[in-house]
């Protein structure tokens, strides 16, 4: 057996041992959902590099580590970063931490595990047949279950995920957690979600979240993801979003932490005049691997999508961008745009980019572009000739490179959190 098979077997073995203890373990529909997912995961396994979608990202380090799921909530109280919004849902090792959270009234925000029955018919409704989604369905222990009522002005909510030191980790076995977040924005409602993932600097762990996001007619969700996992951590995140007529889903993802991370987004524009903006910045330092993979499904007419991704690579590091735009036959007058750009700060860094357009409608406006480059010597000299020290000058040019992607984040709290995360990265890794 190769490492990938062993890794997949380990997860399946954990599921067999845990199935009765997992949330909904004695509830038929949940048990059936998990069993189906297990069968699918058994068939697919952990995707290897021969799978086209995983050509540039090698999961064998994940397979080799033999993760184990934490059974109990960590007892210690992890240090929390300063609040960015009045309301905050905190998850520690994938489990909702009620004592650390303050949930907004009126938005039906709660722990998924605590209200699983209400999720019947919703949980898995947007799932794609992806192996990591199956892994999540098989083993999810909790998640944020949010149903913003129609017409509600939801304000800003923070979603904080913290990887903590668990007993298992102390015994030397790295932990894995698979939170499942269900987020439903009712007709005409609006919400900003600022999601931050943090973890200890040196401990290996796997954070495998899946988001199922339904944006109803005329609704709007702004989803800002700040991935700042510990440097030995893994995050494999899948966002599954469906947007109805006139609705908007905006996703901004910062990939700044972790040893190996994947930010995979599937967004379907299902009703006329739906819109999706997907932007992101990947800051990849020595020894890190960051992957952003997007799939935009234009399934209805008169929809617009915009994607701008920027990757900065330092040291010996690797970045990946894969972006596919599918324009179905019904999606006339689609307006699609995708740009990905990489800035290489070192000769040992590598970027792989694969944009893909698949168009079946005849009246569409769709474009994509990609650039790869180094810092511009002339620009650097111009700044230094004005007295700006070399390190500051480089930071200014990197910030300028990122600006186009970052400008889209207009919520003040989210923008402040993002700016702090970027300058923190620069101080740690860049200067």
């Amino acid at each position: 057996m190769n490492a990938m098979t062993t890794g997949a077997e380990a997860f399946l073995g954990r599921f067999e041992g845990l199935r009765a203890q997992l949330p909904g373990g004695r509830t038929d529909w949940v048990a059936a959902l998990r069993a189906d997912a297990a069968a699918q995961f058994r068939a697919q396994g952990l995707p290897g590099r021969r799978v086209e979608a995983w050509r540039y990202t090698d999961l064998s380090p994940v397979a080799a580590l033999g993760f184990t799921e934490a059974l109990t909530l960590a007892e210690e109280r992890p240090a929390l970063p300063a609040a960015r919004a009045p309301w905050r849902a905190v998850f520690v090792d994938g489990r909702f931490a009620a004592g650390l959270s303050s949930l907004p009234p009126g938005l039906a925000a709660r722990s998924l595990a605590a209200d699983l029955d209400a999720a019947r018919g919703l949980l898995g409704a947007l799932a794609e047949p992806l192996p990591l989604v199956a892994l999540n369905t098989m083993l999810f222990e909790d998640g944020l279950f949010l149903e913003v009522p129609a017409g509600a002005e939801g304000g800003t909510l923070e979603l904080l995920s913290i990887a903590s030191h668990t007993q298992e980790a102390q015994k030397g076995r790295p932990i894995a957690f698979h939170p499942r977040h269900l987020i439903r924005i009712g007709q005409g409602a609006r919400l900003t979600l600022i999601e931050t993932s943090l973890g200890p600097a040196a401990a290996a762990y796997l954070h495998n979240p899946v988001f199922e996001i339904a944006v109803a007619q005329g609704a709007q969700l702004t989803h800002v993801r700040l991935q700042q996992e510990g440097r030995a951590g893994f995050q494999l995140c899948t966002v599954l979003a469906a947007v109805e007529a006139g609705g908007t889903y905006d996703n901004f993802t910062l990939n700044a932490g972790g040893r190996l991370v994947r930010n995979e987004i599937h967004a379907a524009l299902r009703g006329p005049r739906a819109a999706c903006h997907m932007n992101g910045a990947q800051l990849v330092a020595d020894g890190q691997h960051a992957d952003t993979t997007t799939f935009l499904d234009h399934a209805a007419p008169d929809c617009a999508s915009r994607q701008t991704y920027k990757t900065v690579l330092a040291g010996r590091s690797r970045g990946v961008f894969q972006g596919k735009i599918l324009v179905r036959q019904a999606a006339q007058r689609t307006d699609g745009y995708q740009m990905n750009q990489a800035l290489l700060l070192s000769e040992e860094a590598e970027i792989d980019a694969k944009p893909q357009l698949e168009i079946y409608a005849d009246d569409v406006k769709c474009s994509h572009g990609a650039t790869v480059g180094a810092l511009d010597e002339a620009q650097l000299f111009y700044l230094r000739a004005r007295g700006i020290p070399a390190a500051t000058a480089r930071a200014m040019l990197v910030e300028a490179f990122l600006s186009e992607a970052i400008e889209g984040v207009q919520d003040e709290a989210a923008r402040a959190a993002l700016d702090d995360a970027i300058s923190g990265w620069w101080q740690r890794e860049g200067a």
Binding site: F381, Y382, L383, R384, R386, T392
Partner: protein, 246 residues
Amino acid sequence: MLKIEGLTAEVEGRPILKGIDLEVPAGEVHAVMGPNGSGKSTLSYVLAGREGYEITGGRVTFDGRDLLAMEPEERAAAGLFLAFQYPVELPGVGNANFLRTALNAVRRARGEPELDAMQFLKLARAKLKALHMSEEMIKRNVNVGFSGGEKKRNEVLQMALLEPKLAILDETDSGLDIDALKIVADGVNAMRGPGFSALVITHYQRLLDHIVPDRVHVLMDGRIVKSGPASLALELEAEGYAKVAA
């Protein structure tokens, strides 16, 4: 203020500066004229510390210090300023942020207190006004979409803010309309005094009508071939380089 002795430099193995001797005393303005490709911009880049120019001989002292041993930012902090022949565009960098970062970096290096956003704005407004520039200019990205003349004015704005001891103006007059030329010249003249020197690189006498130099040097094929008083520029204009230098 600036003393260049026997300076030779190469670009990609090709000698460009072939032994430059030039001294600009404190408080004086000198002009450098010379044909295209003679090495004027190369000299200005070497003095400002740009990478890619190999110094193969000679020395440069600036205010008594060994200029060639300093990093570009140290040279700026020490009071050297180069107005670029081709100012560089910086997409994504706001002009106000750029100007304030530069000013505060230089102030910090000089042991002066930094300016906060309000103090900076007040100072920048005064300088903008003196140069007849609209405040719009510092809200835009550095030089992006600026007309040729606007870029040159932005260079002079930077000079006015950084208050150098020695300004090298590399064809700051080219691309300027007649009024702008006058405004830029006034900006330079306003700085003239015992603590300010300038090296003005130009092809045209009309700039020197406004900024009257103490001396004029003729640079040809990497060497100063002739130096003289302000009237030398008129001679050059009338007779051409070949004849005057012969």
